[in-house]
Amino acid sequence: MAMSGKQTPADKERRARRFEALFRATHARVLAYAVRRAADREMAEEVVSETFLVAWRRFDAVPGEPLPWLLGTARKILANQRRAARRRAPDGPDASLDGIEIRDSAPPISESLAERDAFAKAFAALGDRDREVLSLLAWDGLRVQEAAKVVGCSAAVFSLRAHRARRRLLKELHATGHSLGEGEKRPPLAERPGTTEGR
């Protein structure tokens, strides 16, 4: 454990202040990561709490760039939660990523909804690893180097995984009749009126 009985009160105070700064800088990102992947909000909050509890106990091991370390810790805790859920319902879905909901706060645009639906289905058809790689980049907004640290591989390996995952996503989209290739007449979703990126 990082906490040591040899710490002076001043040391403890400094440590607490540093942790507080880390917490305030990263809590929202860790919570968002957990909410996206946990079965429900309650589970997400449990994951976040344990993540920061681990960070506090092992504060000396937290690197200067803490977010990938925190998300990597949350990832393991989530894996554990899913494992426990599988024991409860062996035939149930493996992860909440399977249940992506189409949320539409923008004005109803049937074409846009259809494309989003196709995207969601194609994404859901991918394997766990492909979905994780793509979501770390697109949803959590991580750079390749950061995302690689979350899953515990080199940046080069992660880039390769991302490349392959995109290729498989394209293949799934093509299988449903959707193409995002160059020269496509239809503009991408974010360029259409009434849609937002929501981030």
């Binding site: 906490m3 403890k12 919570l31 344990e50 024991r87 949320r103 996503l169 974010a190 929501g198």
Partner: protein, 366 residues
């Protein structure tokens, strides 16, 4: 014109589960931060009392304790997803303790008296244990569930029935690893799917080796002799745990024992209340926060960390403070042994307390 890759990124952001949601309100963030920081200030949590017991010296061995603790190890409790760290609190008798334990103690004290008229105390648990196999450069884990039912009379006689369920892979990666290793034979003890029943002799005869750990730990030779003063009980628990530690931390051992005693239908409300309060006085026992056990039952966990197995492991006792019912003991192995991929951890083993109560016949259930 965007490239196909850029369009993919846009499309992926469109299906972000958080898209179009209002920013997640960080409810509880400040409370979480405050509680984590409070965890490092023992003086705010009855630290003086806790330190008082850390130097407790071993006394004479209670006749019943040695036998209980000798079998307590396999029930080693453990921990799981922790949430909020406990804030300072105290029980109604003024003994500083963790608030969740204090609440459970208050509820336990108000429970009806134990059913001492029943001939047998019955308890049913379901436990899971993991086995790691390493071969041909691969490593995999199998999980073995086991259901145990115990009927125990005041004279020590009774019955133990154990159903060993079929073992299963911990996950798809484990089966893949086994196949990559060339599908070597393992599980020399079989894959389970069997049951065993044995009768327990009256007290005075050693419990046979085949008897379950649960039977031994719940043997209530002298429940009535246990002190109901939390301070005295905490000292007693620690003294005995120290003698039978076998590499476990004292705090972990006391959790094991408390779990079984709290589930014993013959334990009086006063004893159960004292057990909850006493656990809050054991150095190293911390509040871990709200959790769900493997049956999905909501509770809170207290626990302690130990590296007795060579890997950092968090042991916990999960209970429902609103009913004072013990739900489970669990152990969370936090880091993978070098042979296993990091992705496979943490791992959890557990003992779920399914049912307990007084019955009059062997084989009868409450």
């Amino acid at each position: 014109m965007k490239t196909a890759r850029e369009r993919l990124e846009v499309g992926l952001r469109e299906i972000d589960p958080l898209r179009a949601r209002k920013p997640e309100a960080e409810t509880g963030a400040e409370e979480l931060l405050a509680s984590i920081l409070a965890d490092d200030h023992p003086s705010q949590r009855g630290g003086a009392e806790r330190r008082r017991f850390s130097g407790a010296k071993s006394g004479a061995r209670s006749p019943w304790f040695g036998r209980r603790l000798a079998f307590a190890g396999p029930l080693a409790a453990a921990a799981v997803a922790a949430t909020f760290v406990g804030l300072p609190g105290s029980g109604s008798d003024g003994v500083p303790t963790l608030p969740a334990l204090a609440r459970a103690a208050d509820v336990a004290a108000d429970q009806p008296p134990a059913d001492s008229a029943a001939r047998y105390a019955f308890m049913k648990t379901r436990s899971t244990s993991s086995s790691v196999t390493v071969a041909s450069g691969e490593a995999w884990i199998t999980v073995q569930p086991e259901v145990t039912e115990v009927w125990l009379a005041s004279d020590g006689s009774g019955r133990v029935r154990t159903v060993t369920e079929r073992a299963h892979w911990a996950g798809p990666g484990d089966r893949a690893a086994w196949e990559a290793a060339g599908r070597p034979p393992f599980m020399s003890h079989g894959w389970g799917g069997s049951s065993q029943q044995s009768d327990l002799p009256q007290r005075g005869t050693e419990v046979p080796p085949s008897a379950s750990a649960l039977a031994a730990t719940m043997e209530r030779v002298s429940l009535s002799q246990l002190p109901t003063d939390p301070n005295q009980l905490a000292e007693l628990l620690q003294r005995e745990a120290e003698k039978e530690a076998n590499g476990y931390s004292i705090a972990v051992r006391t959790l094991d024992l408390a779990a079984v005693l709290l589930n014993d239908p013959q334990a009086s409300p006063e004893l159960r209340a004292a057990l909850y309060r006493a656990e809050g006085l054991i150095p190293g026992v911390e509040y871990l926060g709200p959790v769900s056990d493997e049956l999905g039952r909501r509770g809170v966990a207290v626990g302690a960390e130990s590296s007795n197995s060579g890997a950092p492991t968090l042991y916990s006792l999960i209970f429902d403070p609103s009913t004072s019912q013990v739900l489970a003991t669990q152990q969370l192995v936090r880091e993978a042994p070098s042979a296993l991929p990091e992705d496979d951890f943490p791992r959890v083993e557990s003992t779920l307390f399914i049912e307990s109560g007084g019955v009059d016949e062997l084989g009868e259930r409450p």
